[in-house]
Symmetry: C3
Subunit: 186 residues, 3 copies
């Protein structure tokens, strides 16, 4: 690859550069700070175009690349230090928990091309999912309804609804059981 030949002019950033620059300042000084409080974080994200539902909690040290490509349903939790690197749309259904330190990555590169072209693909997290602490989710991944990605695991392909995934790459470990209380603490 020859990174000098990389050309990203066709990438649609979704907002004028001035808006993006303003967001970088707001993110750097406020959203990503240690300052407590969730309501004002939700307000800031909405002001910059995020679609955020009711009852959403956003903890300190969170990073969001493009708020205008973020959709969060109702009653979600975005944990401390979560990094939503949404060059492409990230959509999080209602009643999801994205735990502390999780990383959602929508950008990859064509490693098979000399020009290492950027390739972005959306992430869809359906309702009632749990992305564990320090977990990583790759471009184009859909996390099916109710699926769980355990702490520190890396999802490089989509996860089936109602299953628990672990490892790097994350593999199906067992079905999530919401009735017995037997299966937990992975």
């Amino acid at each position: 690859m020859r990174l000098a030949d990389f050309n990203n002019d066709d990438f649609d950033r979704g907002r004028p550069r001035l808006v993006e620059a303003a967001w970088r300042i707001v993110e750097g000084l406020l959203l990503n700070s240690w300052l407590p409080g969730s309501t004002w974080r939700v307000w800031l994200l909405r002001r910059f175009g995020a679609n955020v539902g009711q009852g959403v909690v956003i903890k300190p040290h969170v990073r969001v690349k493009f708020p205008w490509r973020l959709r969060i349903g109702n009653h979600c939790w975005i944990g401390e230090g979560v990094w939503i690197d949404n060059l492409a749309e990230v959509s999080i259904g209602s009643n999801c928990c994205i735990s502390q330190g999780a990383y959602l990555c929508t950008g990859s590169h064509r490693w098979d091309k000399e020009t290492f072209d950027l390739e972005t693909r959306p992430i869809v997290i359906e309702e009632q999912c749990w992305v564990g602490a320090m977990a990583r989710v790759g471009p184009g991944v859909t996390i099916g309804e109710g699926a769980v990605l355990t702490m520190g695991s890396t999802a490089t392909s989509s996860l089936n609804p109602g299953w628990v995934y672990c490892g790097n790459p994350a593999l199906a470990l067992k079905q999530r059981n919401t009735t017995t209380g037997q299966e937990r603490h992975v």
Copy 2:
């Protein structure tokens, strides 16, 4: 799960909200800062109730959720960027090295219940352990005396004394050998 039904009123935070708020400020501005120096970090942690032994080194960018639930023995090292997320007690024996970027997680959720109840379990790290850089330790884990968790590995269950663990979930790789000098650099 229905996160609107989540109820954490029974969780004992261990200190009045005002003390916790003060700690968040101290942590955000000082403990977690880039400022060099270990002695004053130890002093701050003790002021907020941590039980910290002699000869302990605490590097910059460290986070501690509740200092009043932290116990560190003598001659331990807490590396740069370590995150001790101790909703429940974290106890670190003497002569332990917790390397840079490690994450100790004491909180989980009942994923089998609609109310997604918080469930906290203590972490015990016995003497002479080494938690490698960027390693993750889950709730309820005991790391047996002298065990090693390698860089970037994730311990979701307890580790036997004197063994070296690697992977996610971390599996026993080999015995730690403190005499031959053959086994190292994993």
Copy 3:
């Protein structure tokens, strides 16, 4: 191990303590900040002894332990939040992409010795490599020309040229194919 007996007096830090202290301040306030801009970051690194080529992009939140032990070729990208923990030399060839959150670790400890001696070993990343987001590279690792380490993976031994590695420890997954465009999105 007895960390009270640890002795690091023989470790050559490469610069006087005053220079190192100055760098810590510059790194803490500037290099590692959210402030946008790459050119001035390259300039700072060079001022402190780094050998940085032409067309190098360095994103915000980057950490470098010792700039005087850093060599970066031409047209490289150092992503947001990359942590170059270079107690020993880190050498990055031209046309490499070190993605966001990656961690390059040159220091280990003799876990077989009571004195837990520090042992540092250089990292060599040859030309046209891609170290994925949140990937970890251990001491003494050479990443062969054109190799890829996928997101969140941990390289604890050297990677062969032209192969794609995944997991912890990272294992060879497939050959990188720069002609067909079939193999991507791991």
